[in-house]
Each structure stands twice: as structure tokens, then as C-alpha cells.
Subunit: 322 residues, 4 copies
């Protein structure tokens, strides 16, 4: 099989590192170069030392656009548009952007949530990869939105691991602060609500309810937990059935009949869901890995779809489990 | 000053241990005996080894009722009533029960939440110490209930440390499971809702709203975080003012103008609150230590009140901070 | 390709679970049955819920010996011998035992440390898989033993994650105890020293030095860190060269020129080494995942070798990294 | 009682914060001002928010030297000498410096390790407070040094919490890096070895053995664990007796007959020791809180001694325990 010539732009950060960890063992992918302005000339293993033995690549700060079949963009939010203007890739190159810049589906980008947009992604050349909280919340509620069950405010609490804040040092990611601690940030105003509402409006044009989302900083490095609920008059089994049907062709999103916990999904590309009916509410739990299903794993899933590969190619990951 | 002759029943568990840590240095208290059926004959330091150098006491399984001014009961839920029938203490003995058994204020017990019931506690001989989540949630909402501001369902998420589950081994407190993990339990049905609604009904007989409470198991040992909200038409400053007035005589409950995090309260008897107004909701964060303000610290606070001591005697604790 | 018909005995524990996580995606392996006395009749995903979507298998308590090409034994230490007497597998079946029972190479078992015994393993039908600390310590010192450099007592400290203590509940794996804590156990007397000395004696019959090993319980779930040192008169570069040569055909054991940390190896089958020369000592750091290179990953590596497969088949695992 | 007029210089960091947490409740101490160049004009509670309700002080960048009975210096290492030259305090002011600058006992400073130097500290006006690892290691070995038992190289491994690295952000204190991780730094060359050897030479002029010390970065915020050993021909009980005698007047340093773990000492001013005899070695474990007995707690202990107060005044701290 002829391999897909692939590049990663902005490969020194956490999501770039996860892309590397996935792509060095992806049998359909040939990594042509990995780009980083800050780390140019260094070996990849100097920055991602766990990759020892897996790659001899070095970072470059040069951007080659010709002869590239696929490029992943892991630039800071707001820099992608300028980058693509400066470095126009050929029309046949599949561009998968992990930033927020094109999640509004401007400039011909498709929103890369395969559970909702699989057909569009399969034919796309430009894919905007969803945010981490956005992925967890959309997968929690999308089947209910599709059924038009959410007719009042939905209440959501979510807890994210520290890697969601990236590699840059900050007070709230200082170990002595973060360990054993909890706090809330961006109360009801998290920026991912925008892309969530866009998707829900596409699924169901009648949807217009408020989403009150409390995002917590968690005392762990990886993973996102979502609890979402809204008033629901139906039976639990009806809801479980609807969710299973909605995700019947989704190879990573599963409805668990048993109660779940976060680590079931950590270090995998899965989204594991569990539903409950209590006090007149339909309650959905979701567990994902924020760097995988919430970022780089989903990006590779979109890459697979865009190139007509098996959707789970290179993504049968062993969970951390414990 | 003549010291208060004090006993602890069920002193081998986590709340019993915290009582010991507080009372060995409480200058008005003389520990007469510490009781444990399971550990009788052992030195206290064999079970609570951090107390090395602080006490030479041994556990006993004998219950002396005469000559005891104050007794703390740290028995498993459901065992206190039988214990007191078998071991009747004199009428003058102050009984402080940390179990759920008398939180319904039956049998002459007063519900020991000083911020609400200080006057009753000052004259009480029988005090039922509140639950940990109950303390955090009540302190989050009591001023709003008093103002009759909660006119629709209030939404609450809370995260508890593992010590809330006690010393007994269980699958959800196994380190390999719990570390880096999150999960929900007793969704909307936590047993503390009963005592919370009782208090709110006492504060405001008109109150009858639903409380939808999502309790999380957190990946830390100590502390409870509460986020509570409900629709509110007033201004934030009005609410802050009302909360400060409500707690003006409370030496441990503080309204922070700045954003807060959990560890500010850990290893202290404080409840630290912060208020926000966003999307038409009044949102309250609360941070407590589940074993102190949520259990043994509040028990000592009640002890101080019952004996007319300074309310914060022996409770000026250094926070863990980091 | 005809698949290797494989069974797992004792598949409900941590090492059994890791075997399952590896083998469900191992393209040369067909899982015939997974055995557990305690969980018989349950779905595998009821016990290892992170495997949702990966397997529909159920645990059985029946042991089929015919038609099985390979069997992994994950029984408690001391039970394997009796099990094999009761359930004799045909002579052609490859038996890979993860317990300590045959690590003395009795009953025709080969000690399954590929970096030392690869040739023997390639022809073996009975393989005794090394212990976790044993793997880390042997890989730290084997090249130096081979060179006869260790001529005085070697000093070793090692820190293990909690999963080394297994799934059974215990006081030292209670979350409220273990989190933020450190302690030492089996000081200088850890049972793995026996198999370590056996290997070192095979590598170098002149070796007879004492190994003083301080094993720590670490505040994390996965991983083993080893620091080992002994007086060394040579140059660092000489040692680095010797280690690289010793491991030149080892696909998982790498000598890093840069300093290392534990998480580089966690959730992989790698052993990452780093050498220093300081104060006249050669110092070796090693990082492995106790459940993978220290148990189930190495077992699959042995499986690959025994069946003439690529040594790293099914073992190109994505590290947790963060 | 007339209170001791006290100032803290450099009070915005971790050790400064711990001094504040201790001194706001120290009944013999009156805090005159707290100094910080970086935080001047801010309320103390803006930087140490857990102190809400405990102090209304604000940071100042002015240094008042007159009328100050005691000053604690928490400046970065290397800045104290210049500071004192610029701001000469009167001869009667007790100066307690937490930096490394005067631990060599230059300029009239006494090394403030009360277990060794109590008499000198009681008469001192200038006290150099020991380092955190230095405290743990010295208390582990001092009685053996005094007995002249250490006649060969002593081997030491130690694990420190992240707060030892202070408040400044760094890659090795980034939560996503540090959590679940282990690594070694400053192998055999930690700067505290200098003050340790100085003390040991004072205790026993014949002492001149090498100390091989492996310092680990631990996956927790507070605490230092030390394991130290050397060949010893005597009986364990002889050693235990010697240690108990050496520490008989030390109110915070205890020899536990039972095995110990780190958290027994965390958030207290205690040093808890345990001794073992194994493989011909005397092995000593020590547990301290790096910020308390290893820094600010010991500074207050020195303050108490210098002013003739009870040595444990304000230092009967509740351990975190869990």
C-alpha cells in the first residue's frame, strides 16, 4: 500500500506529541516532517522522550507544502488562518486543524465530529477537529437533541485533567497548587459552548435551550468527565435504545449498561456513556481522554475517514485502566 | 480552670482519629478514656501513629458513664441509639453524636450546625453533628433560603475526598481504582438531602424546592467542594451582602471576594464561600474539610458552644495550603 | 495466517486484565477462553469495563486443554503447580506462567527475560515470566554483571506503583492511606532478589555480591523506578557503550543519553535506562511499567518469541506520557 | 505578657506563607509587618487565601528595623547578606534566616538544628535555619555519628514533595509532568550535603565518611522521606536506645517502635524515626514535613528557644493524617 505522506505543524506541544505517538505506529502513514518553531533542530525524542526507539525524526521550522497528502495543524488558537495564508497547501492536501479557528465551519472546513458528521468528513479536504469538552458534551447530548428531548435548560458539570491546559506553565497547573485540589473556571461561559450549540442546531434546528455548564479543574492529568441532565418524561430504556441506535456505527462511542468511571476511557479514543433516569431527569455520564477522543485521537479518526481507511486504524489503544 | 472530663466512643476510625488530634491539644478538655471495641488494649498511637508523643492513652472497650462531662459518639450509623440505651449517661453529660441517627432532632437532640442553630446548641445536652456534604450544601444555600430566593429547583454538584468513605476497605477506595479517577454515586438521592431539607424548612417554612445534587467521588483524600446555583434576579452585591450578614457571627464561615479553591479549607474548620452571578443564576462555591468542618471539627465547635467556651478554642488549625 | 489458539487462566486480576487488553488486538492471537473461578459466567467487560466494544467473551471456570496452542497462567503465587497437575496441557502447548512458581527454572521452565534468554525462549514450551521489580533490577545491572564490573555490594532503591500489590484490598492500598504517602516494605529481603541472583549467576558465574535493595511503595498506580549503583573505575562512556551493545537486539530496552523520568515508560513495554558516573559510582536508572514490561507485556513478548513472531507484535503501545 | 514584635521578610513564598500560618496564632508573637517586594500593597489573604479571617495585614516593601524584636528572613538563597547590609537590624533583634547563606555559621550565625545545638540557639541572636533534606538526614544519622558508628560510606535515599521546589513555576513542577511520576536530581551532589557534613564534624570530629545521597522528586506536595543505612555490628535494641537517649529532650523528634509512613509527619513539626537492623546494616527511616520541621516550623522552634519560650509553643499542629 502506498503510504499517506503526512506532516505535523506545531508538534512540540501535548496534542502534537499525542499525534506523534499515534502516527509513528500508524501503518498507512509516512511522517514526512514534524514542524516546531521553538524546537527546530532538536530530535523529537528530546521533547517527547517516551518515543525513544520509535522515531529518529528531528523538528524542522521549514514548511514544505508540496508532496504532502495530509497535514495536522497543532498551532495555538488564532494562528492557523495566518499560517495557511502564508503556507498554502495544494488543494488535494487534507488539512486537519486542531485549533478553534475553523470550528465555525468557515473557509470550507467541516466540523470533525465523526459521530455526527461522518459522511461530510469522508469527503472533506479541510477538517476542524472539535474541542475536548465540546466532544464530551456533544456526545452526551447529541442523541437527545436529535430526538428533540431537550426542551428546558440542560445542566452540565464537567471535570478536566490538567493536560487540557497544555504544556505552558501556569499557576493553576503548578503541581503544589493542583494536586489534591478542585476549582471551577469559566463558569457558564466556556468557549466550547459555541461549537456545541452550532452542532446541536445542525442536528435539530428547533433546539435553542440554554446549556449551563460548570467546568472543573480536576486533580489528574488526563481525561474529561461529563454529567449532563434535563427533564425527561420517557423511560430510561427508551433513551438507552435511542443512544445505542444513534451510535450504532460509531466504533469508539459506547453506551455502557453498567455504571462507569473516568479511567475506563483514559489513554483510548473511546467515549463511554452511561444513562440514568432519576427525579424526572435523564442523566448522561460521559468519559473520554481529553488528548485522544478530545483532540489527537479524534484527529487521526478524521484522517482515517478522509482517506477511506478503517475508522479505527491505529486507534485500538490499550487503556491505562488503573 | 477545671477541665471538662471527656470521652470518645468509637475512636479508632477516621472521625474518631480527628477528634483525638483536636482534643489532645484542647486546653479545656481532659480525655478520660477513648473507646473502641476493635482496638481495645492497643495504644492510641498504634492506630493513629501520627499522634506519637502526644498521648499515652490506650483504647478501652469499657464504657464509663459516671464522671463524664462530655462524650463524643463516633459509632457506625444506626448503632448510636442502641449504645445509649445500653449505656445511659447522666443527664448533665453533653452528648455529641457524629452519626446520622439523631439528625432528625428526635430524642431531644439539637442539630449541631452552629451557623444556623448556635443559640440552641449553647443550651443543649444532646447534639447531632451534621453530615459532611450536608454541612457544605447547607452553608452554601442557607442565607439564600432565609431570604426566600430559591424559588425553583437548585442544582448542586459536589466532590468529596476519599476519607468520606471511612477507613473500611472498598473497591471504590482502592488506590489503584481511585487515583486519577472520577465517578458519580447516589445520583440525586444522597442521604444527606434529608437533613438539608429539614434545616431549610426550619429556616424558611415556605421552602419546598427540589435540590438536584450530583455527588462525585474525588481523586483526593480530604475536602468537599460544592457548586450550587438557582435563578436569581438580584444583583451579585446584594447577595454577597446577605451572605456576609448571615455569617457575621460565624468564626469559621467566610465569604471570599476572590475566587477560591478547595485546598484553602483543607485541614481547617473553615467553610470558605464565593458567590458569582452569571446567566441569571446566583452561583455559590463552598470549600470545607469533610473530616473537620464536615465532622470532627464541627463536633468540637459544638462542644465549645455547649460548654460556653470560645467557639474557636482548639480550632485555629493550620491549613495544608499546598 | 492461522491464528494461535490462546487461553488465559486467572484473567480477572490486574495482570490478567492487561493480558486481555493486549491480546484482544494481537493480530496473531485468537482468544479461545478466559478463565476465572471467581467471575465465571460474567462478561469480561463486567470485570474489565474499559474493554467495552473490544470483546464479547465471558469468563468460564472450565479448563479446556485440547486444541490450545498457548496458555497464560495468572494464578496466585503457589497455585500454578497444582493447577498444571490437575489440568495437564499437551506437550505442544506453550505455557507462560506469570507467577513465581517456576522462576527457579524447575520442571523444564525457561526464565522469560528476553534481553538475557532470548534464544532459550524462542525454543521453549514452558516460560516463567519474571517479576516486576526483578525485571527492572536485572535490566539495570545485567550488562555490568556480564562485564564483571560489580565487585562490591550494589545499592538499589526502587519505587513501585500500587498495582504491584494487585486487586485485593489492603490497608497499604487504601486510597486515603496511599495517596501523598511513601513507605518502605520488605527492606533488603524482597522475594525477587532470588530470581535476580539466579540470573546474575547465569550471566556471570563469578558474581556473588550482595544486593541491598530498598523497595518503596509509591504514590502512583503504575510503574517501577530503579536506581542502582556500585563502585566503578571506568569511564561513563565505556559503560554506556557496553549497555547499548548488550541491548542492541532488544526492541524494548533503550539507553537514553538524556535524563529520564518514570512516566516515559508507563503504559508501554519499554525499559528505559540512563547511566551516570558520580563519586566513583556507576549509577543506573531504570523505568518500566510494572504491569507491562514487568508482567503482562513481557509475557506477550515471550509469546511472540516462542511462536517465532515479530518480538514487538501487538506491543507498540502508546505511552501515557502525561 | 508583652508580645514579641516580629517581622517577616520575603513572606509571599511557600516558607513565608507557612511562617504566617504559624505566627498568626502564636500567642507570644505580634506581627508588626510582612514584607514582599513583589506583592506590596496586596492583602496577605490575596496571596495566602487560606488565611481568610485570620489576618488583615497587607504586604509592604518597606523595611522597618527599629522596634523589631525578631525578624524572619525568607529571601531567595544568596540575597540575605546584601539585605542585612542594606538594612542593619539592632544588635538585640533576633534574626532567623531560612536561606542557605549563613548555614556555614559565618558572621556569628548559629546553625539552628535544636536537636544538636539547643544551648547555642537559646543564647543566639542570629540563627541560620537548616535546609529541609539537611534536617531529615541529620536527624536520621546524628545519634549514630555521635556514637562513632558510621565507619564506612552511608547510603541515603530521600524523596521530597514538590513544595521543596517553591512557588516558582518550572517544568519539573508542572502538574502534568509531576503527577504519577518519579525522577532523581542532583545525584550524590545535593547542596545540603555541605551543612550535613559540617554538623556531623561538629558532633564527631573523627567523622569523615562519604554520604551517597540519591534525592528523588516525589509525586506529592509535602513531606520528605529519608532511608539511610551503614554497616553496623551492634544490636538493633542498642541503636534504638541510643537514638531515644539522643532525642530525649527533643519535643518533636520521636523514635517509633512500629514501622512508619510519610504522612504521619505531614503538616506537623515532628520528625518521626524508625530503625531496623537487616543484612548487617543499621537502617533509619525518617519522615518530616519539608515546609515545617524542614523550614518554617523549625524556624518558629528556634524563635521559641531564642526567646526562652516553651519549645513547642504554637507548634502543636494537627497532622494531615490522611
Amino acid at each position: 500500500m502506498k503510504k499517506i505522506k503526512t506532516a505535523i505543524i506545531g508538534a512540540a506541544g501535548y496534542t502534537g506529541g499525542e499525534l506523534l505517538r499515534l502516527l509513528v505506529h500508524h501503518t498507512a502513514c509516512e511522517l514526512m516532517y514534524v514542524h516546531s518553531n521553538s524546537q527546530k533542530g532538536k530530535k523529537v525524542t528530546a521533547v517527547h522522550p517516551d518515543l525513544i526507539g520509535d522515531t529518529e525524526l528531528e523538528f524542522t521550522d521549514e514548511v514544505q507544502t508540496e508532496g504532502i497528502d495530509a497535514v495536522f495543524l497543532g498551532l495555538p488558537h488564532g494562528q492557523t488562518k495566518g499560517f495557511l495564508e502564508k503556507h498554502p497547501f495544494p488543494a488535494h492536501t487534507v488539512i486537519i486543524d486542531l485549533s478553534t479557528d475553523f470550528r465555525d465551519e468557515s473557509h470550507g472546513f467541516v466540523y470533525g465530529l465523526p459521530e455526527v458528521n461522518k459522511t461530510k468528513i469522508q469527503g472533506a479536504k479541510k477538517i476542524a477537529n472539535p474541542g475536548c469538552f465540546a466532544t464530551g458534551i456533544q456526545l452526551s447530548l447529541a442523541p437527545a437533541i436529535a430526538k428533540n428531548w431537550v426542551k428546558e435548560t440542560a445542566h452540565i458539570s464537567g471535570i478536566t485533567g490538567s493536560t487540557g491546559a497544555g504544556k505552558a506553565l501556569s499557576e493553576t497547573t503548578h503541581f503544589s497548587y493542583r494536586t489534591n485540589n478542585m476549582s471551577v473556571y469559566k463558569l457558564f461561559t466556556h468557549q466550547h459552548l459555541k461549537e456545541i450549540k452550532q452542532t446541536f442546531g445542525q442536528i435539530n434546528p428547533d433546539f435553542g435551550q440554554e446549556l449551563l455548564f460548570v467546568p472543573y479543574r480536576g486533580n489528574f492529568s488526563r481525561g474529561i468527565w461529563i454529567t449532563a441532565y434535563f427533564p425527561f418524561e420517557g423511560e430510561l430504556q427508551e433513551a438507552v435504545q435511542a443512544y445505542k441506535e444513534f451510535y450504532q456505527n460509531a466504533p469508539f462511542t459506547w453506551v455502557s449498561e453498567a455504571d462507569i468511571d473516568l479511567k475506563q476511557a483514559v489513554n483510548t479514543n473511546k467515549c463511554i456513556l452511561h444513562l440514568k433516569k432519576e427525579k424526572g431527569q435523564l442523566v448522561i455520564y460521559a468519559a473520554i481522554d481529553n488528548l485522544l477522543k478530545g483532540a489527537s485521537g479524534q484527529a487521526v479518526q478524521n484522517f482515517n475517514l478522509a482517506f477511506g481507511l478503517e475508522e479505527n486504524m491505529g486507534l485500538n489503544l490499550k487503556s491505562i485502566a488503573f
